[in-house]
Amino acid sequence: MKVPQGRGVDNSLKALSRTINQPAITLAAIVLALVLGVMRLPFLQYLRPVGDFYIALLQICVLPFLLATIPLAVRSAMDGGSAPGVLRSLLFWVLITLVAVASVSAIIPSLFFDYSSPDQQMISHIGALLGRSADTIDVEFAVDPRHAAEIKGAADSGIVSLIPTNIFASLSSNDSVRVLVFAVIFGVGMVLTERESGKSIFDALRHIQSVCTLIFDWFSLLVPIGIVALVAPQVALLGPDAFTALTLFAYAFLATSAVLLLAAPMLCAFALRASPASVFGALLKPVMLGASTRNSLVCVPLALDTLKNDLKVKDEPCDLYLPIGIATIRFGTILYFVSATLFIGTLMGRHFSLIDLGLLAVFSVGASFATLGLSGLAALAPLAIVLRPFGLSYEVAVPLMIIIDPLADMVRTMLNVAINCMIPTLAGGRGTIPTLQLSL
C-alpha cells in the first residue's frame, strides 16, 4: 500500500523521536545533567538560556492542546454513555491515591526524623543559614494601626480563583487552571448543542489536537538536550548548604519521593499486566520532562501520548483526567509540605502524635490545592496553612525551603506527573482500542 508522503514524514519523525527518547538515552541525559550540575562548572550558566528556549518551545501549544483535548474527551465520555462510570472510577482512584500519598508522606518522614534528630551542629548551621538568608529580620509590623501596611485581600482566592471570568485574559496570562475549567464547561455545552443542532466544530478541534501533537513530536526530539540544559544548571544552584544543614530534610524528602516514584509505575504495571521495566521506561519520558521543565502542564501532551500509545491505557480516563489532574492535584506538593512541617517541628522540638500526623496530612492536601495557579517559590506560601496550626514558624521554614527548592521543585513535578499518570491507568486499565482517532 502506498503511504502518503506527509504520513511517511510523520511516521519517520515518530520513529526518530522514539529512538532518541529511548529510556537508555533519557537516563544517560539525566546522569550527565546530574554530574555536570554537581560539578558546578562555570559554563553551566550558558546552558540556562538553552533550557529556557526549550521550555518556551514546549509551551507554544500547551493551551491550544488543552482547549482541543478536553472538549473532545468530554464528548467521547458523554456520547459513549460511559462518562458516569469513568468519572466514578476516576474519583475513587483520586481519593484513594490522595489518602495513600498523604499517609506515606506523613509516615516515612516522621519515622525518619524520629530516628535521626538534628544535632547541635546542624541546628547551628541552620541558624546561620536563617540569619543570612532572612537578613535576620523575620517580621515587620507597626504598633499604630494607621501606619500598618494595608493587608490587601487576594484578588481571587479559593474557589473563585478557578472561575474563568475572562477566558481571553486567562489565555493571555497563561492561567492554565481557568482555561481547563473553561474547556470542560465549554466541552459540555458543545456536546449538548451538537445533539440539538447536529452542528459542531469537533472535527476542527480534532485537527487542532493533531497539529499540536505533531508540533510536540518535533520538540520531543530535543528532550535529551532539554534535560541536560535544564537539569544541570538547576542542580548547580544547590549550594553546599543543602548538603550540610539540610541533609536530614533532603534525605527524608528524597527517600519518600523515591518510594512514591517507584510505586507509581509498579501499580501501573500491575493494572496493565505489563512488565514493570517497560512501564518504568515508558513513564520515564514524561516524568523526566517534568523534572527538567519543572512545569507539570507542559508534560500533558507527552504523558497522554505515553499512556495511550505506549502503554495502551484506555483513552477516556486519560483524556478526561490527565490534563485536569496534572493541573490541579499536586501530589509532590503534598509530600513537600508534610516533610517540611515535620522537619521544622523536629528542629523546634515539637513531637507529632498520630492525630497530629492525620491532621498534618489533611492540611497538606488542602494547602496543595491552595497552590493552584502558583509556581516556583510563590507556591511555598500556602505552607503557612500547614505550619501555623502546629505552632511552627513559617518564617523559619521559607528561607530553608528556598535553599533546597532547586532540587525539590524538580522532584515535586516528577511526583505530580508520575502519580497523575497512575490514576487513569488504575481507573481505566488497558484499552482495547489504542489510538486516539478511533476512540473519538
Binding site: 540569619g131 535576620t136 515587620e140 504598633v143 501555623r388 496550626p389 505552632g391 523559619v396
Partner: protein, 295 residues
C-alpha cells in the same frame, strides 16, 4: 542743739546705716544664691548660665557615659581606655571647642547618664541614649546621630501558639505577654507606651534580659534593631528558636544629652552631627570589630 539731741541724731544715723548695710548684704546674698547653680556648673564665669563659653573657659568638656560597655558604640579596651565611635565623637566635639574631654563613666544605667547631665555633673551625655518624653523634661537632646528602629526578639513557638494560625505580627502588634527590657533604659517607657497590655519585666542589664528569654521567663525582649540583630549575628543557632521583629513606626533617635541651659552647645553639636552625618550606620555598627566584645 542739746547733747541728747546730738546723741539721738547719731543713734538714728547709725541705725539707718546698719539698716542699709543689712539691705545691701541681703540683696547681695540673694543675687549670689540665685546664681549659685551657674557658679557650680561653670567655675570660671560666675553669673553666666552653663553653655559653650563656660565650657571653653573651664577648658574641659565633661562627658557622661555608662560604666558598662555598649558594644559597637563604646567599650573599654584592654588597657581600660574608652574606645568606640561615640567616644571618638565626643573627642571631636571637644577638639572643635578647643577643650579637653573628661569622661565621667560612673553612670550605672542609661537614665543615670541623663541624671548626670541634668544635675550639672556633666555637660553632655553620650551612651546610645534614646530621646524620650521623660528625658526631654530634664535635658536637651541633639539631632539624632543614628536612628534605629525598635525591635523585638521573640520565642517563635510561644508567639505561634498565641497566634493560633495567624501571622506572628498579629500577636506582636498587640502583645500581652511578658516583655523583657533593660531597667533604667528608654525601653521601659517605650514598652509601657507601645505594649500597654504586656507585663514589662525589667532586667538588670541586656545580658540578663537575653537570659530571661532563653530560660522562658519572658517570651520577648525589646530593644533596637541593632541589638536584636547583634544577638542573632553572634549566636546564629538562636535563629531557629527565636525570631526577630522590627517595629516599622517606632524609631530610637540616638542623640547626645545636653545640659538644659546649653542652647549654644546644642547648636554646636548639631552642626558637628550634620557635618559628620553618615558615620553611624546599622550595617557598619553590626560589622564593627567593637561589636565582637560581647559577653
Amino acid at each position: 542743739m542739746s547733747t541728747l539731741d546730738w546723741s539721738g541724731s547719731i543713734g538714728h544715723t547709725a541705725a539707718m546705716f546698719f539698716r542699709r548695710l543689712f539691705g545691701a548684704v541681703t540683696l547681695a546674698l540673694c543675687i549670689a544664691l540665685s546664681s549659685l547653680p551657674a557658679v557650680a556648673q561653670s567655675p570660671s564665669r560666675p553669673g553666666l548660665p552653663r553653655d559653650v563659653q563656660s565650657i571653653i573657659d573651664a577648658k574641659v568638656l565633661r562627658v557622661a557615659v555608662t560604666r558598662f560597655d555598649l558594644p559597637s558604640f563604646h567599650v573599654r579596651g584592654p588597657d581600660g581606655r574608652l574606645l568606640g565611635p561615640e567616644i571618638e565623637m565626643a573627642q571631636q566635639i571637644g577638639r572643635a571647642l578647643g577643650v579637653s574631654v573628661d569622661f565621667v563613666d560612673n553612670a550605672e544605667s542609661f537614665d543615670s547618664v541623663v541624671d548626670y547631665v541634668a544635675a550639672g555633673r556633666a555637660d553632655i551625655g553620650i551612651s546610645k541614649l534614646s530621646q524620650t518624653y521623660n528625658r526631654l523634661k530634664r535635658v536637651r537632646f541633639s539631632e539624632p546621630y543614628v536612628t534605629l528602629r525598635h525591635a523585638l526578639l521573640f520565642n517563635r513557638v510561644a508567639i505561634a501558639r498565641e497566634a493560633g494560625g495567624q501571622p506572628p505580627a498579629a500577636v506582636l502588634q498587640k502583645y500581652n505577654g511578658r516583655l523583657g527590657v533593660i531597667a533604667g533604659s528608654a525601653y521601659v517607657d517605650f514598652a509601657h507606651r507601645n505594649f500597654p497590655d504586656a507585663t514589662v519585666v525589667e532586667a538588670r542589664n541586656w545580658d540578663s534580659a537575653i537570659q530571661s528569654l532563653l530560660s522562658g521567663q519572658v517570651d520577648a525582649i525589646y530593644r533596637d534593631e541593632f541589638e536584636i540583630r547583634r544577638i542573632l549575628k553572634n549566636k546564629p543557632a538562636l535563629n531557629v528558636q527565636f525570631g526577630s521583629a522590627v517595629i516599622t513606626d517606632q524609631n530610637a533617635l540616638l542623640s547626645i544629652a545636653i545640659c538644659d541651659t546649653c542652647s549654644k552647645l546644642e547648636a554646636f553639636i548639631n552642626y558637628h552631627i550634620g557635618m559628620t552625618r553618615g558615620e553611624f550606620s546599622l550595617k557598619e555598627l553590626l560589622s564593627s570589630e567593637l561589636g565582637k566584645q560581647v559577653r
